[in-house]
């Protein structure tokens, strides 16, 4: 099928509009309201075209392309019409920058905008290089305005965190409103009132902080004008350079473009060209990256404790000192606690340093939930195969969300869930406290705290009643499993969970309809004294349903999956090859320190509670910001952050991403792989002569099957059943909600606006209460 636009024949696909077909063939048709990621809207009328055998001027964005259509876009009559439409739009948009006679010179010089709150003149607009109105008016050749401008005189909205709004610039294209409602599934903004009084706004003009806004910034990125602007990154003008990299704050690893100016990362913008993750970027990645990375407290120089005081030294001295000091300890007295934000390459080198050079097998990840889950999966032989992906979520028929706070821990995930729901998925929430996603779900089950095991057991029992499991009956574990289920009475489960029988059967019925389902579980299951029991019982459910995949643990830390893959997990070498020599895991290292079995530590982030490592004789700490552990460390090594090095990250679902360097580290800080190589060489280890992190990656790809293309084993069948727990309530241990962090430093500690947002949502104690909390914690410890 083909159509002709201005004499050029282009192919069309079934169901495409004229605009979509033109875009696919790189033919420009001006638009202001159409957006690649949104369905057609038809508000701005700038895309009007002439079509043979059609009356009037249909808009290209909402007119379906049909075979043989002859379209005229770049024609005098059409251009004149578009120019007049744009002039009408410009009446309400300050446009001095568009009709200025100095425009050509201005465009070539173009400094940063003048800092001014209200945008009335050309130099005050923060929309710098990205103004679509300028683009369109340039294309249409608008150089004068016969009609005087009408300034709306609306008050500026500068009282919310993260971004400012000046609706005097708004042209009401509705991209922000549609983005928020249709893609993000939030609906924090809407068109209010009508006619001349129409304005994008909130209910009763409430602030976004009070309202439903999750501060993802999707509205800003969609806005064709300067009406919406990020507070933190609106004044630096055009970036000097930009690289395609990722955000590392959570394990979703959204693709981001990092903009560098004056040697620093000044802005991070979601990468719209990456199909996989363009729509998921959230408050952390969109707004917090520059402020978090550029804080003046970043560590600049290696420090060695001399005579009780930390003094700056050269890297050579630091490496030599570490080498000499470590030689004083037996290999099994040395422990490695690894930050889940290191690159795969650095993690691989740490494994090499610890297991091969030093000979210590005491290596584990600094994490609670992620460590527990990955260790569990690794033991069961399920960690090495591909995990359930975001695509699986979007295409799922049902999704069960268990005890999680993903709106704050993985704010991109609800976007995928919203998409799944639009595609017809049933969303079921099983939670022992309020879940923010309740308004976006089909079933909400509030279970009694501590009754999750009973809930899962009862669900298992119902499934067993309705599904034939002849194959499973041959399993060794089946008899015990069957017996444990026989002991469970549904009435007892109803009593202890507070879930009605009809709710149980509704959930069970939904799950049985399709194997394209996903169970997601969050870190609040760590309140259970034996969280692996919950994982086992979830595995029961999936086993009975015959689903080999379909489980997503909401891993928190940016590269927890990658460092486990690369060998920084207890008992497994890179690629989940069993380590033949046993070593201590995190908890045994902690007890080992107390007993004096473990005496020297290499720690790559300062998030460990100081009391865990008290008693160690020699502590090397590599980190990016000062932490509570500094007073105990013998050596502190300043590490580079993710925007200052190249390497690879692995997201929660096993996708491998490229980190690319956008800026230089401060002072003499080094990428972690160089630090580890330096220590390795000083200990006389071979194989630390790398020119770049790319060399390490090549070595990993060559030597370890797991990292080869298609090297991961297929997903194993689920063939294990775990006896379910007795019905009743488990006593839960109180847990602080997880706060998003990087290399051990919570993001909100350095980003004031994020603190405001999290405080408002009760994710962190308010600043005034914080000292009281610290007091209380100290007493508990």
């Amino acid at each position: 099928m083909k159509i002709t636009i201005d004499g050029v024949e282009i192919p069309i696909k079934e169901g495409q509009t004229i605009l979509e077909a033109a875009r696919d063939s790189d033919i420009y048709i001006p638009t202001l309201c159409a957006h690649k990621e949104l369905p057609a809207f038809g508000a701005c009328r700038l895309c009007v075209v002439k079509v043979d055998k059609m009356r009037g001027f249909p808009p290209a964005c909402s007119t379906p392309a049909t075979d043989g259509m002859i379209v005229h876009s770049d024609e005098k009559e059409v251009r004149k019409l578009r120019r007049n439409i744009l002039r009408l739009i410009l009446i309400e948009h300050p446009h001095s920058c568009i009709v200025c006679s100095e425009r050509a010179d201005c465009e070539s010089i173009r400094g940063g905008p003048v800092k001014a709150g209200r945008i009335t003149g050309c130099s005050m607009c923060p929309n710098r290089e990205t103004c679509e109105i300028r683009e369109v008016s340039h294309y249409l050749g608008i150089s004068d305005m016969e009609i005087p401008m009408e300034y709306k005189g609306l008050p500026l909205e500068r009282y919310d965190p993260f971004f400012d709004r000046d609706y005097n610039l708004c042209i009401l294209c509705g991209r922000c409103v549609r983005m928020c409602q249709q893609i993000r599934g939030v609906g924090a903004i809407a068109f209010t009132k009508r006619s001349h009084n129409t304005k994008v706004g909130t209910i009763f003009g409430r602030t976004h902080l009070e309202g439903a806004c999750r501060f993802c910034g999707a509205c800003i990125d969609a806005c064709p004008t300067g009406a919406l602007s990020p507070k933190g990154s609106k004044w630096h003008g055009k970036a000097d350079s930009s690289v395609e990299s990722i955000c590392t704050f959570c394990s979703m690893n959204c693709a981001m473009v990092l903009e560098e100016k004056w040697g620093r990362v000044m802005a991070a913008i979601p990468d719209r060209n990456k199909e996989y993750s363009r729509a998921y970027a959230c408050v952390y990645g969109r707004f917090c990256i520059p402020a978090f990375l550029n804080d003046p407290n970043r560590l600049h120089y290696p420090l060695i404790r001399k005579g009780g005081r930390l003094s700056p030294v050269s890297w050579e001295e630091a490496f030599r000192y570490i080498g000499d000091s470590l030689k004083r300890f037996a290999p099994e007295e040395i422990g490695f606690l690894v930050s889940p934000y290191l690159t795969n390459e650095s993690a691989y080198l740490l494994n090499k340093l610890s297991r091969d050079v030093i000979g210590s097998h005491n290596i584990d990840m600094i994490s609670k939930f992620g460590r527990m889950v990955i260790q569990y999966l690794a033991e069961k032989g399920r960690a090495s195969s591909s995990w359930t992906t975001l695509e699986d979520v979007e295409k799922a028929d049902w999704i069960m969300l268990i005890n999680n706070d993903m709106v704050f821990t993985h704010p991109g995930m609800p976007v995928a869930i919203h998409k799944a729901r639009e595609n017809g998925a049933r969303i079921m929430i099983v939670d022992d406290s309020k879940n923010e996603l309740e308004v976006e779900s089909d079933m909400q089950v509030r279970i009694e705290p501590g009754s999750l095991r009973t809930f899962l057991a009862a669900l298992t029992k119902l499934l067993m009643n309705n599904i034939k499991v002849t194959e499973l009956e041959e399993l060794d574990s089946f008899i015990d499993f069957r017996r444990s289920l026989d002991g469970l009475k549904l009435i007892d489960a109803v009593r202890s969970t507070g879930v009605l029988e009809k709710q149980f059967s509704a959930i069970e019925g939904t799950m049985r309809t399709s194997k394209k389902g996903v169970i997601m579980v969050g870190s609040r299951i760590m309140e259970d004294p034996v969280p692996t029991q919950i994982l086992g019982e979830i595995n029961n459910v999936l086993t009975i349903l015959g689903m080999d995949r379909g489980f997503i643990p909401l891993l928190e830390e940016g590269n927890i999956r990658g460092i486990a893959d690369s060998g920084c997990i207890n008992g497994f070498r890179p690629g989940y090859v069993r380590d033949r020599t046993s070593g201590k895991d995190y908890l045994r290292m902690i007890t080992g320190i107390r007993r004096g079995d473990v005496q020297a530590l290499f720690i790559s982030e300062g998030s460990i509670p100081p009391e865990h490592i008290r008693g160690a004789k020699f502590i090397v700490l590599s980190e990016i910001y000062p932490t509570d552990l500094d007073s105990m460390a013998d050596v502190i090594l300043p590490s580079a952050v993710f925007s200052e090095e190249s390497g690879h990250y692995t997201s929660f679902d096993g996708r491998v991403w490229n980190l690319r360097k956008a800026a230089e580290p401060p002072g003499s800080a080094l990428p972690e792989w160089k630090i580890i190589s330096g220590i390795g060489k000083n200990l006389g280890g071979d194989g630390f002569e790398y020119g770049s992190s790319e060399d390490i990656w090549k070595e990993m790809e060559e030597n370890i099957d797991f990292f080869k293309k298609d090297g991961r084993p297929p997903v194993p069948e689920r063939k294990e059943l775990l006896s379910v727990s007795e019905p009743g309530s488990i006593h839960l241990s109180e847990q602080m909600p997880y706060v998003v962090r990087y290399r051990g430093t919570p993001i909100h500690e350095l980003v004031e606006d994020l603190r405001t947002y999290l405080e408002e949502n009760d994710r962190i104690p308010r600043e005034e209460d914080e000292s009281a909390v610290e007091e209380a914690q100290r007493e508990v410890v």
């Binding site: 209910i203 309202g211 308004v439």
Partner: protein, 164 residues
Amino acid sequence: MGMKTEYNDEWMQRMIEGHGHDIKNLIPILQATQEEYGYLPSAAISTTAEELQISEDVIFGVATFYTHFKFTKPGRHIIRTCMGTACFVKEADNLLELLRDRLGIEPGQTTSDGMISLERVACLGCCALAPTIVIDDEVYGKMTSNMLTKLLDEIIDEKGPKEQ
């Protein structure tokens, strides 16, 4: 203007149940709400949002599109100023200005003591009497600033305009 019922969340939920939890029923739900309470209380919008699984902001956007929906509790007395062509020519805008000044509110708002609501209407169909003002259900024609001031004094003194 009889006082409408006090807000009752149970009533609200029952009413929404009756319409069905579907976004396409939003406008009938809003109409029923306004009929019951005389306006759309913010608590009613919250409940509607929760029941229909849409955001309050979206409901507000829909409701503000229609001038029919009110967001403030109507006052004990409602003053409607006609701004139709005839009244406008007879300088009804002066009367509106006087009301604005005196009451300290804009058309569509209610005084903070909940006594008087001010509204502007397009035409009352009695152009021969222009300029016209309606207080509660009583029509006052050929209005002047002096007469309006007197009427206002009476309402404010709690005598009620009808005693005249």
